[in-house]
């Protein structure tokens, strides 16, 4: 195994996430794309940990932090989407033009 194969795979996943973030118009699907990007970052962290083999497993600890923060982000994100949907009857980002001049 070489390190680069994991990094390239993570880069591809991250690029998919970027594409989804820009193309999707449904808020829930945009959050899904963000999850894909965070997962790509986790792949990088764990691969670097296996490459460097730190004495305190720092890469894996950071991956766990990323997972935790991502879970919090999804909870809040979906609550906000729910709130927007309740007020605007839509979860489409193109309809949310209130703050655009």
């Amino acid at each position: 195994m070489i390190l680069s194969q994991f990094l390239v795979l993570a880069a591809a996943l991250f690029a998919f996430g970027v594409y989804g973030l820009l193309v999707r118009r449904n808020l829930v699907l945009i959050l899904l794309s963000v999850e894909l990007m965070l997962a790509a970052v986790n792949v990088n962290l764990v691969a670097f940990e296996s490459y460097l083999v730190t004495s305190q497993a720092i890469g894996q600890v950071f991956a766990i932090f990323v997972i935790t923060v991502a879970a919090a982000e999804v909870g809040i994100g979906l609550a906000i989407v729910l709130m927007i949907f309740r007020n605007r009857r839509s979860a489409n980002v193109d309809d949310l033009s209130l703050m655009r001049w």
Partner: protein, 183 residues
């Protein structure tokens, strides 16, 4: 390391199989026309990533990924999809019409990141010891060197919990509040 060397390692076959599955699932997450399918493809992608973590002998992270993402986050997503009544059938208005610029941007991001990785690390190899990173080590690290971030993250989760409840709660109408007060 030559390509022949790379292919001769059986672990790389496993990596290729899982990697292709992850890439396919990831691609379908952002292109699927069906919202529920997109969420379920994310399950596939994350399961593949957890398998890659097992290949990298990161057992604890792999299982917490399965537990947190596949067990909890995806369920939240499915709830979100069903509550917002996102179009669950084939739908035309799910994606923006302007796909060329995001596609070019994504390819550029991929090219830049993979070029930088390959340029920096080349064929630096990971020597897998075969023994998984012990959970004891991660626990000692979490409650030793990283105890402050650990506590901060627990407050983040608490804040997210309270914030989520507050945001998603339906406010009572004045009439309902009166009724409740009279009881």
């Amino acid at each position: 390391m030559t390509i022949a060397d790379w292919i001769s390692e059986p672990v790389n076959w496993v990596f290729s199989a899982i990697g292709l599955a992850v890439l396919f699932s990831g691609f379908r997450v952002v292109t699927s026309k069906n919202v529920v399918h997109a969420a379920l493809y994310l399950v596939g992608a994350l399961a593949g990533i957890a398998a890659l973590f097992l290949v990298l002998s990161a057992e604890f992270v792999a299982w917490s990924l399965v537990l947190v993402y596949i067990g909890a986050v995806i369920v939240l997503f499915l709830f979100g999809i069903m509550i917002t009544r996102a179009p669950t059938g084939l739908d035309v208005g799910l994606d923006s019409e302007h796909k060329a610029v995001p596609a070019v941007l994504a390819v550029l991001v991929f090219a830049l990141m993979s070029w930088a990785s390959i340029d920096a690390f080349g064929s630096a190899s990971i020597t897998s010891t075969g023994t998984p990173t012990s959970t004891e080590l991660i626990g000692e690290s979490l409650l030793g060197r990283f105890v402050i971030p650990f506590e901060v993250v627990s407050f983040v989760l608490l804040g997210a919990l309270i914030g989520g409840i507050t945001l998603a709660r339906r406010d009572l109408t004045p009439l309902e509040e009166e009724e409740r007060a009279s009881v």
